[in-house]
Amino acid sequence: MSSENHELLGRLAEQVRSEIAPAVDGEYRRTQAYMAAVILERLAREAVLGERHATAEADDMAQLLTELDGIELEALSEELAALRANARVAALGDVVEALYRVDPERPETAAALAAIRRVLRRDIDRRMEIAR
């Protein structure tokens, strides 16, 4: 989406919030109008931040894969191979589940979980920039 469209979404959100919603009759309908503004605001943030977030995610995942390569995780070879083929934060769920199946308290699985959690924290912080 172009930066002009990003700005348009933001202006649209503001107009719905400040001009359209207050003019709507009926509590339920007015609430719906305000919700539309809230949703447009978040979509606008997603549009503006999308590229930066995608780059940051790719960097985090590349660093994580390097870290995981340095940990003895033979029991997770299948999940890690899948992760390397699809190096996205969303794909970490299967690895996390596998870590808990093995034993999250063994030193190597604890180290892997700690590394993954650092990435998850950065990811959720990025998502919170949009969701707050």
Binding site: E27, Y28, T31, Q32, M35, A36, V38, I39, R42, V89, A90, L92, G93, D94, V95, V96, E97, L99, Y100, P104, L113, I116, R117, R118, L120, R121, D123, I124, D125, R127, M128, I130, A131, R132
Partner: protein, 351 residues
């Protein structure tokens, strides 16, 4: 017109339907009039209507305050909330010390009242929203007067002191000794997450894995309300006149309810638990009334279980909108509430 408004029946037509239904149930010889009918709190679960039923008997006017809950079929809890179960729970509580509305009729046939419905006693009292400033001011003022904090604690103690077997509440399902209660709750909310169709996030996998790995044994099984907080309690003259919202009850660990009282998420801008009760008073009075020692470590575990439940609720809500089951934009917005719930879960897990 949105689906939510379309689902809400025209008042006059609905009142006419109710009038016939109640005349039949009450066995009146003359008509039953429906007075002062209002739909309260356009919420995301069941519809709630308050009204008075008025009829003539032996020349004198009879009046009955009633509350009707209807299930529109797109409630956030999906199959996890059942009006038939709520009705049965309220019936069981009728002879206990728990302040709860008396349940009169359950109508499962959607063709009779437009949707499955439950009709119960309209109990006097107010239930200010703790999420609004006016509500929090109400609770702060009531707390300062000193009566409501004790009544709040006593009401929870009454729930946990119920002899649930004698009351017939074992139909809710009784966990086996040990960790079964925690695992059942995890399974329940995991099934709601799956039903939602929401993509989820690896933090949720971490949370669920942690919960299963660290589940505590329940030392004692009691009736558990599941959502005991201000906003779900009717208050009349500074006393709890009724515990409402019997949708999440189970037989389980009482620390599950205590954790809900202790959590910061159920208070805002105050140290008063649930916006109303001083911590020391709650601990002392609850432990004395129940003989149950509050285990804060177990409560900390259940607060993480609530984080999972919270995520499940928001995922279910967002999923209802995504599926087209509702056009209510408040549910569309919950897509981002999932993020907030997961961020909180990550913090609780220590990262």
């Amino acid at each position: 017109m949105s689906t939510a408004e379309q689902a809400a029946p025209d008042h006059e037509q609905f009142a006419a339907t109710l009038s016939s239904y109640l005349a039949d149930r009450l066995g009146t010889t003359g008509p039953v009039k429906i007075r002062d009918m209002e739909r309260i709190a356009v919420g995301w679960s069941h519809e709630t209507w308050l009204f008075d039923a008025v009829w003539s008997s032996n020349g004198s006017e009879q009046r009955m305050g009633l509350c009707l809950r209807r299930d529109p079929g797109n409630a956030l809890l999906r199959d996890k909330s059942d009006l038939g179960e709520q009705f049965r729970v309220l019936q069981c509580l009728g002879d206990t010390e728990v302040p709860a509305p008396r349940a009169y009729w359950h109508q499962p046939d959607p063709d009779v009242l437009g949707a499955p419905a439950l009709i119960m006693e309209k109990v006097p009292g107010v239930c200010p929203s703790p999420w609004r400033r006016a509500g929090r001011d109400f609770y702060a003022a009531a707390a300062a007067r000193g009566v409501l904090p004790a009544s709040f604690t006593d009401a929870l103690a009454a729930v946990h002191n119920v002899d649930w077997r004698s009351a017939g509440l074992d139909f809710l399902g009784v966990p086996e000794a040990g960790k079964d209660f925690a695992h059942r709750e995890i399974d329940k909310w995991e099934s709601l997450i799956e039903a939602s169709g929401h993509e989820g996030h690896p933090i949720l996998s971490d949370l669920i894995g942690w919960l299963r790995h660290n589940a505590p044994p329940a030392e004692r099984l009691t009736l558990v309300h599941g959502a005991f907080r201000t906003g779900n309690l009717l208050i009349d003259d500074d006393r709890i006149s009724a515990v409402l919202d019997w949708e999440l009850q189970v037989i389980g660990d009482p620390m599950y309810d205590v954790a809900y009282v202790l959590t910061e998420l159920n208070r805002e801008g105050t140290d008063l638990l649930s916006n109303v009760v001083p911590r020391e008073l709650f601990f002392e009075r609850y432990q004395r009334a129940t003989g149950i020692e509050i285990d804060e470590q177990r409560c900390a575990y259940y607060q993480l279980l609530y984080a999972m439940r919270s995520a499940a609720f928001w995922m279910s809500a967002a999923g209802l909108y995504a599926d087209g089951a509702t056009t209510d934009l408040r549910l569309a917005r919950t897509h981002w509430s999932v993020t907030v719930a997961l961020e909180r879960a990550a913090t609780e897990l220590g990262y």
